[in-house]
């Protein structure tokens, strides 16, 4: 097994836990001394990890937004003068909330890149590989860190930010790109575009490693992407609030997303009781950052539903625990429809099973007092009697898999929006109707 940083990745567990505690203590001191926001929230006298989780309140996105509204742009949150920042980012706003704004110092940014390096190296990326990052290169941090990490590792990077999908497909083939970073949604878009161009990505391109992040995805989507590209898709995730990549998928065990524990503490709490859950149990991920100096994070309630397992369940030699399957779904993405819990990934799982469907959008609406799912699906080459027959099959599969029969409407091919970043395919329009 090869590691980007074997010292950190294989540190004996007891030493790792001592390291985390020392780092946490210093991080807390820095925050209390320099950030009015944290000085208000972090009490004195935290002398153990147990005291930390008992005394420091959970941090919600609303807390950060309130601070930033009161004192824009960064609020009273920073622990350093923002003048030390070398870059600004903000959350994507796909949840409909105003964005959380952050800055990174030069050291913070090097660390963020290094956490990407850890993930990429584990996934088989090496110096001199040719890489393409198909990402919007805007305010959303997304794959910016991956770009810098690839340069840091000595790869050749093609920044494919403002290019159309056909050009990206041509670049993949012409330059025999080996490493590809993108969202699962955009990977699906490239598969569709390549097919229109008569390009067989698995045969004509040379992609070996794909880092597909920034969105939860269904297993079916992952398998479809892997088959079409003939490459392994690895999962990884970071957040703008934390700054860096906190987990990456291990090549040794599919779905095992190791937590970069020297730089982050990940608690998993029951979504209702807020009490810790054990290994193997679902809960919400709560993050504490141990490294970032400009904008620190303590006990951030992320809304991400995860299942943590001990490092011993993976045979790669890393001593970092892992999140099994990565982020399973978002707690705040779950919608109740006539008593049934529905998430975007559940809907995606059903629709990706229909090879005729190239893109979709779903919404929850109230029709004559009854909540229902409305699905718009693009299905090219489906005409005449085949159209209502396909709608009926989709509705039946929904009923069987999710328990709700939706209204299904076929729309013109290419009429639904495509995105290079976080796709939002489930829209709850019930509040709009009631407003």
């Amino acid at each position: 097994m090869e590691y980007w940083n074997g010292r950190a990745e294989t540190m004996p567990r007891e030493e790792l836990e001592r390291w985390q505690w020392r780092r946490l203590r210093r991080a807390l001191d820095h925050a209390r001394e320099n950030s009015p926001f944290w000085a208000e929230r972090i009490p004195d006298g935290i002398t153990s990890m147990a005291a930390y989780t008992e005394k420091v309140p959970l941090l919600y996105k609303a807390d950060l937004l309130a601070s930033q509204r009161a004192a824009p742009p960064y609020g009273t949150w920073p622990s350093l003068d923002p003048a030390y920042g070398v870059r600004h980012h903000q959350t994507s706003g796909t949840s409909g909330n105003p964005p959380v704004r952050t800055f990174d110092t030069e050291r913070d940014w090097k660390w963020i890149s290094d956490t990407f390096c850890t993930a990429l190296y584990a996934n088989g990326v090496r110096s001199q590989h040719k890489a393409l990052v198909a990402f919007g290169y805007g305010l959303f941090a997304g794959f910016w860190g991956m770009h810098y990490a690839l340069e840091r590792m000595g790869c050749t990077v093609v920044p494919a930010g403002g290019l159309d999908s056909k050009t990206v497909v041509r670049l993949l083939v012409d330059y025999q790109i080996e490493v590809l970073g993108l969202t699962p949604s955009y990977a699906m878009r490239l598969i569709e575009t390549a097919a229109e161009m008569g390009v067989d990505l698995a045969r004509d391109a040379n992609v070996k490693v794909m880092l597909a992040g920034a969105e939860p995805r269904s297993d079916f989507t992952t398998r479809t992407i892997e088959q079409a590209f003939g490459a392994r898709v690895f999962n990884a995730a970071g957040t703008t609030e934390f700054g860096a990549v906190f987990m990456f998928e291990c090549p040794t065990r599919r779905g095992a997303c190791h937590i970069n524990e020297p730089t982050v503490i990940e608690e998993v709490l029951h979504p209702e009781t807020k009490e810790p859950v054990g290994y193997g149990e679902e809960g919400v991920r709560v993050t504490t950052g141990l490294y970032r100096e400009g904008m620190q994070l303590f006990r951030h309630w992320t809304e991400d539903i995860v299942v943590k397992r001990p490092y011993t369940d993976c045979g790669c030699g890393r001593t970092w625990d892992f999140l099994d399957g990565g982020i399973l779904r978002r707690y705040d993405d779950m919608r109740k429809i006539r008593g049934v819990s529905v998430t975007p990934v559940m809907i995606e799982d059903v629709l990706r099973g229909f090879t005729e469907v190239s893109e979709f959008r779903s919404s929850i609406r109230t029709v004559r007092g009854l909540d229902t799912i409305h699905v718009q699906a693009e299905a090219s080459d489906i005409t005449g009697e085949a159209a209502p027959e396909l709608c009926a099959r989709i509705a039946e599969e929904f009923k069987r898999e999710i328990g709700i029969r939706p209204q299904v409407e076929l729309v013109l091919a290419g009429s639904l929006p495509r995105t290079k970043w976080k796709a939002a395919r489930l829209h709850d329009e019930r509040q709009l109707a009631h407003a």
Binding site: N5, T105, E106
Partner: protein, 69 residues
């Protein structure tokens, strides 16, 4: 195959010594081009030292704080 996972004690000491030397230099350097190089190099070295489990006294002091650059 496992690749090298840790520095030798001698390598670690030399890395730390390099870091200290550059911190001193950054504190007095007034040449913008050189200072920019020092700031970048120090940020990289901090990440490297951190990855090797080396703790620094000036952990949260930004490079060039108070240097007027």
């Amino acid at each position: 195959m496992t690749n090298d996972s840790s520095l030798t004690p001698e390598q670690r000491d030399r890395l730390l010594e390099s870091y200290r030397t550059l911190v001193d230099l950054a504190g007095t350097c007034r040449v913008p081009a050189v200072f920019a190089a020092l700031r970048g190099a120090l940020a990289e070295l901090r990440v490297a030292l951190d990855g090797q489990g080396v703790e620094l006294d000036d952990y949260y002091r930004p490079v060039g704080a108070g240097a007027g650059n």
